[in-house]
């Protein structure tokens, strides 16, 4: 079954309504819901764990959890937040099984990248590297908490308060983690040979 191409209108109400209909037996609406969130979720997982096969496994488990769960999302939580929360929890479970301990708060790293580069103007900014390996390497160089926040912002397009709720972290902490992540990524990805600035 081909994944349908759908317009990117992910209002919370629409997602919740689609899920409700699916729970009541309309199998086709699930494809719409899936198409809407599959890329963002997959890219989030790939960026976070750096391992495509693990990302695929967790991705599948996340959706199957959603399918098998008889519950509907809590009213106070957006579907997207709920979906990413499931994915995050599945990934943490996998890491625990593997005995992997993600780096926690990296004080040294944040001190280094607390301030943005004193680049002059947007027009004079250096270009950013575009190849996948460099992007992934730059992400991998971030502490896990910063990487997670950045990826949730980039691929899930969640607001800071939503990220704070999802990760059970104060909003100010999320904000500073994002700032450190942006500063560091910009330094790591600075590519003097790039001609144009990504819009």
């Amino acid at each position: 079954m081909r994944v349908p191409v759908i317009p990117v209108t992910d209002s919370p109400l629409a997602d919740a309504e689609l899920l409700r209909r699916y729970r009541r037996g309309d199998a086709e609406v699930f494809a719409v819901l899936y198409a809407r969130h599959r890329l963002g979720l997959f890219r989030f997982l790939c960026g976070l764990c750096g391992d495509q096969s693990l990302a695929e496994e967790v991705f599948q488990e996340t959706w199957l959890s959603l399918i098998r769960s008889a519950s509907e999302q809590r009213e106070a939580v957006q579907f997207k937040t709920w979906l990413y929360q499931i994915a995050r929890n599945r990934l943490i479970d996998h890491w625990r099984k593997l005995g992997r301990r993600e780096a926690l708060y990296d004080q040294f790293d944040e001190r280094q990248h607390a301030e943005a580069d004193p680049a002059p103007t947007p027009e004079q900014q250096l270009g950013l590297a575009r190849d996948r390996e460099r992007l992934q390497a730059a992400l991998a160089d971030l502490p896990a908490e910063q990487r997670e926040v950045f990826l949730l912002r980039a691929h899930a397009d969640l607001e800071l308060v939503e990220i704070a709720e999802l990760t059970q972290t104060p909003a100010e902490t999320v904000k500073s983690r994002l700032r450190y992540a942006v500063n560091k990524l910009r330094r790591l990805l600075a590519d003097p040979t790039a001609e144009e600035v990504s819009a």
Partner: protein, 202 residues
């Protein structure tokens, strides 16, 4: 200079970087993975929902994480204890109207006697005997006391009646002795009033 401009440009930098990652990240789930997930979604939609018994079993199993059997067993144990205590209580308190031997009245006066003023009525008799099977000691003692009280209560009436007869027969000395004994045994008893009542009841 830079610190004054930085706060203004930070949202721009952030947005620029976010867009950069969005545009240049090419990871995508495979078609096989998509198909597998969508097929699972269709199958789950078509499959009938779990029955109540299956849901209960799933709940008791605790989803494989934390079995809830202990909770269920604890509930059953509490119920059993409650029922047991209730049954014991019912057995210990014999209900009225059941087939229990009734103890006969021991009051042996020749005729029904009016009640003494200061004495409990003679019909205060134990009506039900405690089944020999399982009386409590305290309840048995109470019933013994009731029987004793019944016998005791019969006595003044009996002596009063005898005193009345002695007076009628003219046996003053015997009557006087009996009256003295009554006074000693029941100092609160108004002997003359009781004799008058007995006289009127005849």
């Amino acid at each position: 200079m830079t610190s004054a401009r930085q706060p203004e440009r930070e949202p721009g930098r952030e947005q620029q970087l976010l867009e950069h990652f969005r545009q240049h990240t090419r990871d995508e789930p495979s078609a096989t993975l998509d198909a597998r997930i969508l097929a699972a979604a269709r199958a789950a939609c078509q499959a009938p929902g779990p029955s109540r018994w299956q849901r209960l079993k799933a709940w008791l199993a605790g989803g494989g994480r934390q079995p809830r059997w202990s909770l269920a067993l604890a509930g059953v144990a509490c119920l059993g204890i409650g029922l047991s205590l209730t049954w014991r209580t019912l057995q210990q308190v014999p209900p009225a109207g059941l087939d229990a031997p009734v103890e006969a009245m021991t009051y042996d006066a020749p005729a029904p006697q009016p009640r003494a003023k200061s004495a409990p009525p003679p019909e205060f008799q134990p009506r039900l005997a405690v089944p020999a099977a399982a009386p409590l000691r305290a309840e048995q003692a109470l019933r013994e006391a009731e029987r004793s009280a019944a016998k005791v209560l019969a006595e003044p009436q009996r002596s009063l009646q005898r005193l009345l007869e002695l007076r009628r027969e003219g046996r003053a000395a015997d009557a006087e002795r009996l009256q003295e004994r009554l006074r000693q045994d029941w100092p609160e008893l108004d002997i003359e009033a009781e004799l008058q009542r007995l006289e009127r009841a005849r």
